[in-house]
Homo-oligomer: 321 residues x 2
């Protein structure tokens, strides 16, 4: 059932022994949102833990500072920024996929798998929703809580640059800054610092970028060979996915990365009316209108062809904004 | 004489036939601030024009939409974001350098050349000051005015990423967004879109980046040859100056660009306590603590050596933040 923020707040206020689940391949929004929610619920005296099906990447470790992570048998299971129980990862899906009590999410594609779901599909991040939820529950936003939410707000918007960024996003970013979020170090860490291996990978990827459809589409393919040459690995590729779309005139930016098993993960980023989610849905994936993803099989050329075919279909519907 | 915002507002409210001057090699802050101030003063019924010693780069043209640019003999001359009358450019310095009535600036290095100077050296941009000034004068911030100011607020802070960004910067950015600034297109234009020639230049520049002083300094040199190879030109190099500092561990990022006469313009960007302005001052330039510039003569290697010598002196005083 779909519920609103007040009902979600009431559910959480009644609950105890709460397990908060993130999506796998975790990003700043699922982790920032989950840790901020956990911090608030722990401050209310509840027993709460945050779990994720995949290991937490090192750069997000600080989000867990000061958070208790007790082991307990959960009474209430909450999923944050999780559109589909498959995204909990195999083990957590098996254990909890059918018994999530509350899902807080901003994906229009949410499958409503939870008993209660609070969705705001026009929210740029789950973290914006959590910020409003914590305010609605009368929780003080400490500097640490503000930093957790600021990570979510910025990482899901390319640091306030993507088209999902709204006036509310700017306002909440400003309120989190005023509440003491460590904005400078967060932005430096996630947007302005490149490891030497990442810089090398970025150069290889840019060298291989190709344009299609009268330069309205740019495609970059990151191969296992590039990881070897640069010393980088796939943990650093998320930040590359915005580069193809940056070329002037490009409406659809594509990033493919070769997985160890030879499959390709495609990230689709679009401008204007072009629906990235529609492109990916036809290839078995999903996401948002401006940012979506899917997995492709076959050789590199087969994967490129399959992706470009769907891009072309979507470009044919394009009106320049 | 140094004056405060109220005195600056009073001066402007009394004035008419106002000439507003920008600094040469104009950027988003001097142009956004000057056009917003002009728009407000014209809305108050005054005769106002904005002038700049250098041509206005094409991407800033929209700031002048809807602004009258009358020819008249000025009674009051205002300089915005101008730290030194030399920065007015030769002709305007000769004509007005000694008769600027009011300078509104955020550079600590301001020479106090104007009759009255309102400086806030901890303001990230002149545009923040103009925003507060217009509010103080009871001016409505229209969407167009908000866009002009948003250009200044974002371009001087790397889109809210540089260390000069404060809580006030975030708050003003949010208020400008709420006032109807075209935040998405401004950010796309100035931060997220690369021409194909710029992308080619960026690759050449990154390929030539070198590290010094145990990787605490990165230097990128953009040559006339690179402009020829990429099809780009120096109008696009400003956006490259942040790249060297992005490498993990780098405290001082240096960008040198070869001028047509063989000299080199150096841009110095620093992290933490390292004073970019001190480095550049010893080489005849100046700027802010985190971002400064100077001009170097001699061969490329001589210019590099001169710059690195001053960087080393400054790095020797460094404490890791």
């Amino acid at each position: 059932m779909r519920i609103d923020m007040q009902a979600a707040a009431a559910l959480l206020q009644r609950a105890d022994r709460i397990l908060i689940l993130c999506h796998d391949h975790p990003d700043g929004d699922t982790l920032g949102s989950a840790t901020a929610l956990a911090g608030a619920l722990q401050a209310m005296g509840k027993t709460v833990a945050v779990r994720c099906g995949d290991p937490i990447p090192q750069q997000y470790g600080f989000l867990f500072d000061g958070l208790a992570q007790p082991e307990f048998s959960p009474e209430t299971v909450v999923a944050v920024d999780v559109a589909d129980p498959k995204l909990l990862g195999k083990a957590f899906n098996a254990a909890y996929g059918a018994r999530v009590d509350l899902c807080i999410d901003h994906h229009a594609s949410n499958t409503l798998f939870a008993k209660e779901t609070w969705i705001e599909s026009d929210s740029a991040s789950a973290a914006e929703m959590i910020y409003l939820l914590l305010q609605g529950m009368g929780q003080t936003i400490t500097p640490q809580q503000a930093s957790r939410l600021f990570v979510g707000v910025t990482t899901d918007t390319g640091c306030l640059r993507f088209s999902n960024t709204t006036v509310r996003t700017f306002r909440i970013a400003a309120e989190l800054a005023a509440a003491g979020a460590d904005t400078y170090h967060i932005i430096q860490t996630f947007f302005e610092t490149k490891t030497k291996t990442f810089a090398a990978l970025e150069r290889l990827a840019l060298d291989g970028m190709r344009l299609y459809f009268h330069d309205r589409c740019a495609l970059m393919c990151i191969t296992q060979e590039m990881y070897r040459l640069s010393g980088s690995d796939e943990s650093e590729t998320d930040r590359l996915t915005n580069l193809p779309r940056q070329i002037e005139g490009v409406r659809v930016g594509l990033t493919m990365r070769e997985l160890p098993n030879g499959d390709f993960k495609a990230s689709v980023r679009t401008h204007g009316d072009i629906n990235a989610s529609a492109i990916c849905k036809r290839l078995g994936g999903g996401g948002h209108a401006g940012a979506a993803g899917c997995t492709l099989h076959g050789t590199k050329q087969q994967a490129i062809n399959a992706l470009l075919k769907e891009v072309q279909a979507e470009l044919d519907t394009d009106t320049i904004d």
